[in-house]
Symmetry: C2
Subunit: 663 residues, 2 copies
């Protein structure tokens, strides 16, 4: 679409007007970014972006990520202008109000057309790397069907966050050349001029990471367009530094941090309208401008129509598989095969670490679900997330299904979110549980967005042993369980691991698998078709008679509970053992089920090589707990367990003490 | 010290031998890095590093940070060779055993001479930036007394972690030219060749961040020495890429990831001994090599002797102030002035946000404690951590006491750890509570090391309002309380804020202040000399008669509890209110005190605009809780509180329901 400069200016100014008006109406928000990047957005959305305004879920749309999520009015304005049915002018007027489609930061679950939830800086850039990677992988699987660009609008803050380095590092390494980052180079941060805190040469920095890097005047539409054209021709990802003026148009606040995060105020808005030659009332959009935007939207839709024809020409099986993947449906044979797997692994009684169980199960799961893309943050051999049949993805071959993420846990987690958001992929990670802290902001967003991502986190306790307290998680199970909408699985053996994977694959939320480094005996050897782990906790071994003691344990400590049970039973004390592979799921069960599993034994003891936080809901605040109260220590793992008193005899001693020693 | 190449090789080979022998003895550990960087370390420690082998706490020593903490045998070997009394040969033989001074990763609290606890990658580099910044600040305060270099040995993994970008960004910006990073450029990661996951040009990257960057053969001692000399002359921080061979000397494993993290094995160790011409038994150190190392240590000590003379020449007051700061003692008038402050702020009943309370208190604290260096991750005006009298630190003026960290929460937290480790400084941060997730790995290490750092984290709940769920912490209080040895303070008003600061300043552990965005009324207006917050929780308002209801609340929800109390009392139900400004401290009190504060009221209700996790220990698992169960929402904050039912009437309703409605 060619437009005159005058028309372009009006098309951009409508964004500026909507942004300042909506922020003013809400008396809260960020006008500076939408006003500064209105020209960039106008060029991108009306001349380049390929999408279907009537179907924001079209799988082959170009993705646009507003990594600088505080500038949310930019995307709301654009979606409205392009003809979104959801983003009506009334919704724009309800900016930042409860239950509006225009929340303070973009929330993809509230607003159709918003690709991802952003605001915490750097995350959107990480998501976009995942989307661009997903595109490359799926373009290999479904040639001609998946073939699109991923655009990011990023702020100084996005580029200062550490995650940005991880993200651009892996993107440059994998030569994700359909990823184009538009950097809003406005030289302003909240505290004032960017020079207060930063002097990085971003062009050089991106080049050092294997990127193509360009510089343009962010208020010159033809220059912006030429740069995007050049970026599209590059064999590397491209960063375009768009020199802009924050709050462009505001006589008193343009180019100042005052434009960033507060309403401009009525007088300044009036002055800005005058300066921009924008004679219209708040939220009033002249028909020529509206038409120009709508035409762009309709032109873009042509790509969809052509795609529909290509898709229809595929064979039925490919179409079905494509649709299955994007609908996140499991193949019919999934459940049956998972049961068979359970039978098979239950029959092999050799002690293994649950990280090895994870590999065994993942091998079957990945065979059943070709949408799985696994990976590890440079701990492949330790995490056991690369199964025998997996093949690494490289910059010149995207037919693989394993990503060597490098030592980039945070970008791995953010990119996995992007892959899940893109659709067609079930991403699986690998790192140590203690490093869940490095991924945490991204796991939180996965939970908020309800994304099916699976984090495999091994070395899940003091069982790490010699590597010591820096590598021994003690609070991480609690801290991950604390995040709403995350499932933390800590299976006790291969059978439970299979059951937990069966659950995780069905979720619209993230799962974290906490798996051991050390070997464990199988605790579930009997065939059992039902998925006992699916309700989070279940009675693993009943008491001989009416239970006086209930032991509750997860993962590696189930073994200890079973040994303690034997000893207590030997002493004539009826004891039952409850396995708790997923506390989060257990708390979602009916009160009846919970009461039944918790049982009525006089004595309740929780056992987990971690802090107690969270366990009171099972054992009661007056229950006993065998676990950790502080950091671990470096030493052979069995000695470390002894040191902290996490042993079967400690369980027995606690039970006996409660029984008055005279049971 | 000049040595022949032959002597140098022997001095380096002893490190290689000790590393492979200790790892072999432990049957666990990382020989690759010490063997690869033995030449670099030998040059650095015997020709450059300024320290006192008999007093590893000398304040003006050069700092050495092994950011690649897995190579711990490098530093243990070197400390032993330099004559440390702690690192005996027997301790080296006890590598990775319980309670040894040679844990798997370097732990500064276990091993004198180890500057910081490393292992989680990137953290050491962040610490070192803080040390180098502390040096510049203290060099300004105590000229001639503090004047040293900070050296870092960093691995590929350190440089791939996102935190490294934040750290080098701020270091380059502040021109910390006495910071010298030696990068162990060995081209190997755990998964295999680095080229599996990385292609960043690190020289260009560091240059883009304003660093001087050099490249040397990491096995050429004269080239290494020349590069360090050049680095010391630079007006920028310097990164020296030292091209090394991991596992240098091992015929079968050198240059391969197999050398990284496993014992070489007896046969390969024998072959390596042969290849290196090292004819000595395990842990046997020939006397010429021992002497050469000892001489280097003794020569280095001369700097200490000269410093002692300079220090003795200072006036008594300066000496006393210097010693006070490094001993982390508070000035005599501190307690008295904090009580006065409480009286003063208690008399001003105007409602304020506790972030504003934080500023008011910090103003007094910073005046009393000139060792405070405050800062913010680009949220200065929101965090209120820059008081009126504070002055920013810039690259050409280190006389200030406020750091504009930029949007770099993680490096801020890691650098604060480094500043605290350096000594002489009490670092204070500023960011939003939700971004504690970005800092978490560093906060955990502060807790493990027992460092006095104070994190001011504002916008502490759904009270954030319009910014929505991405910016509203709900699980962060629980997740921070989960970390052992962290104090999470959530004061209800300015008086409690003063009390909490009085406690935080006395700790050898990190404190996190969770402060509100929204205004709150004062809840403590009566003069009270005692620090009621010091025990974590206390009865704020007693019941009229024997309490039937106990309400427990923190921060902004104390107001709601007080209003609910009024209503319940009006209905004739004796109700008391307990303020819980620091749950962690409360759990450390005697059983008697806890029982007294929890009380015996039939009904216990916790109130906090956050998840319940952790509260059961106060209210019991059968207690009631008014708080959050999931993520928040974007909207005006009072409406958000209503939406999630966190109101005084919700408290009253819960109490009445328990009373059967007929109380």
């Amino acid at each position: 679409m060619t437009v005159t400069r005058e028309k372009h200016d009006r098309m951009a100014n409508v964004i500026r007007a909507l942004a300042m008006d909506a922020v003013e109406a809400a008396n809260s928000g960020h006008p500076g970014l939408p006003m500064g990047t209105a020209d960039v957005a106008t060029v991108l959305f009306t001349r380049f972006l390929k999408f279907d305004p009537t179907d924001p879920t079209w799988p082959n749309r170009d993705r646009f990520v507003l990594s600088a999520g505080h500038g949310s009015m930019l995307i709301y304005s654009v979606l409205h202008l392009l003809g979104s049915d959801d983003l009506t002018i009334d919704e724009l007027k309800r900016f930042r109000q409860l239950n509006s489609k225009t929340p303070g930061h973009p929330e993809n679950f509230m607003t159709p057309g918003v690709e991802t939830t952003t605001g915490p800086l750097g995350q959107g850039l990480g998501n976009a790397v995942g989307m661009a990677l997903a595109e490359r992988i799926l373009a290999d699987r479904f040639p001609g069907i998946i073939d699109h660009h991923t655009y990011v609008l990023a702020s100084d803050g996005d580029l200062m966050e550490g995650i940005s380095q991880e993200a651009i590092g892996i993107a440059g390494h994998l030569k994700l050349n359909k990823l184009i980052v538009l950097w809003d180079d406005n030289g302003i941060s909240i505290d004032g001029p960017l020079s207060l805190s930063d002097s990085v040469d971003q062009i050089m920095r991106f080049q050092s990471a294997g990127w193509n890097a360009l510089r343009v005047d962010g208020h010159d539409p033809e220059a912006i367009a030429a740069a995007i054209e050049e970026a599209k021709r590059s064999d590397k990802p491209t960063m375009i530094a768009c020199k802009t003026v924050i709050g462009f148009g505001s006589p008193a606040k343009a180019g100042k941090s005052a434009a960033h995060g507060s309403p401009l105020g009525a007088a300044e808005i009036a002055a800005t309208r005058q300066a921009l030659g924008w004679e219209f009332e708040p939220f009033d959009i002249p028909s020529d401008v509206r038409d120009a935007w709508r035409i762009a939207g309709l032109q873009s839709k042509k790509a969809r129509t052509a795609w529909d024809e290509r898709f229809a020409a595929l064979d039925a099986e490919t179409r079905a598989e494509f649709n299955r993947r994007f609908a996140r449906e499991l193949p019919a044979r999934f459940t049956e095969n998972m049961v068979k797997l359970k039978e098979k692994v239950g029959a092999d009684a050799k002690p293994v670490a649950t990280r090895k169980s994870g590999e065994t199960v993942l091998e079957t799961v990945a065979e059943l679900l070709p949408e799985i893309v696994s990976g590890s943050a440079d701990l492949t051999g330790s995490n056991n997330t690369r199964t025998k049949t997996m093949k690494p993805i490289t910059s010149d071959d995207f037919s693989g299904n394993f990503v060597h993420w490098g030592i980039r846990e945070h970008a791995m987690a953010a990119a996995m979110n992007g892959m899940a958001l893109h659709g067609g992929i079930l991403p699986v990670s690998g790192t140590f549980l203690v490093f869940s802290d490095y991924c945490r902001p991204s796991i939180r967003l996965a939970a908020l967005m309800g994304l099916r991502v699976v984090h495999v986190m091994t070395h899940d306790s003091i069982g790490v042993g010699e590597d010591g307290p820096t590598h021994q998680p003690v609070e991480h199970l609690a801290a991950l369980r604390a995040i709403p909408n995350v499932l933390v699985f800590r299976p006790a053996d291969t059978v439970e691991t299979a059951e937990c994977w069966d659950v995780a694959a069905r979720q619209s939320r993230p799962s974290v698998f906490a798996l051991t480094r050390q070997n464990l005996p199988l605790v579930r050897t009997e065939g059992e078709e039902r998925n006992l782990s699916a309700r989070g906790a279940y009675e693993l071994r009943s008491a001989d008679g009416e239970a006086r003691v209930s032991l509750f344990a997860s993962g590696s400590e189930v073994e200890l509970a079973l040994e303690a049970q034997k000893e207590l039973e030997r002493r004539g004390i009826p004891t039952r053992v409850v396995s708790v592979p997923c506390m989060d799921l257990f708390f979602e069960q009916s009160a009846e089920y919970r009461a039944e599993v918790i049982g009525r034994a006089q004595i309740k003891i929780g056992v987990e090589a971690a802090i107690r936080m969270g366990w009171d809901s099972i054992i009661g605040h007056d229950g006993d707990f065998v676990g950790m109260t502080g950091f671990g220590a470096s030493g052979p793992y069995k000695e470390v367990y002894e040191l902290f008193g996490i042993t079967n005899s400690a369980i027995v001693t606690k039970a006996m003490a409660r029984l008055g020693g005279n049971a």
